[in-house]
Amino acid sequence: MRKIVLFSILIVILAAFFASSSPDGLEKVAEKLGFIGKGAESRSILTDYSLPFLKSGPVNTAAAGVVGVGLILATFLGIKSMCRGAGRSGR
């Protein structure tokens, strides 16, 4: 478990520093065809993969990515305990 989690975090850090910032396939298509303007700006706590109140940059992106990995792991650990207490379902 620990190895895969560390491997994910390694990818997050590499991505934060080296990922391309060009628009992705869908965004590029929307730009080219001219409907990108119809897209609405969405906001959330970690919009654009950066932590709020801090200067954006690769270090911030890496930190936000690590938070994301943590959120995912927490989700499944939660599901695990839900299933564990699954009792009384009979048949």
């Binding site: 895969i4 994910s8 990818i11 992705d24 869908l26 298509v29 959330s44 919009t47």
Partner: protein, 234 residues
Amino acid sequence: MHIPDGFIDPKFSGGLAGVAALALGYCFARVRQMATAVVPQEALAAIGKGVHSLKTGSSRMLTAFGESLILKMGMVASLIFAAQMFNFPIAEGTSGHFLGGVLAAVLLGPFAGSLALAAVVIIQSLFFADGGFLALGANLVNMALIGTFLSYYIYALLKQKLPEELSIGLAAWLSVVLAASACALEIGLSGTFDLLATFLAMFKVHAVIGLAEVLITLGLIKVAGGYFEKNSSI
């Protein structure tokens, strides 16, 4: 691939969210069934558990297999989340990123795999605003159902005739192209832009992104699949 708000009619996407909820609920039921075993109440009482329950009958308990399956889902999902952050350039001013549907499908099977992808897509939408919240239904259908669930059966079908790695590769390419086509269809049906033009443009870009998907999928299956084989109970 993550559709932002505004590209899709929210009513349409809401309908798709219903479809996704039904399908993923079914996946959850199947995973729960796989991960738990029915234990008679007397057996639980014997080990001091479940004695609070006056009802006689049986309870579902997480098995050791179930526990490692759910942990494996978490690991595959975090790997996919991380890999999706790594946008790679594919042409002038265009990037693509990993989808991971076939990776999840091969490592976890169709039910657990779809749930892993769904968790990634939901967390990206809720916390990172990557993929609009009102477009979540469409994104779940494209990535968790078409990119993972359907792609699992494409992979399984191909595997009957072709060697393992070739089947994985073809399914991975198809998963990206099919998910992108579905995305174009949803945008077209929402009246955002001409359906055919959107489809052709999406197909062209994602036919290339799909090639990277093949390489990353095969690479990660080597790494993660090898790890899971060595550590069957995590």
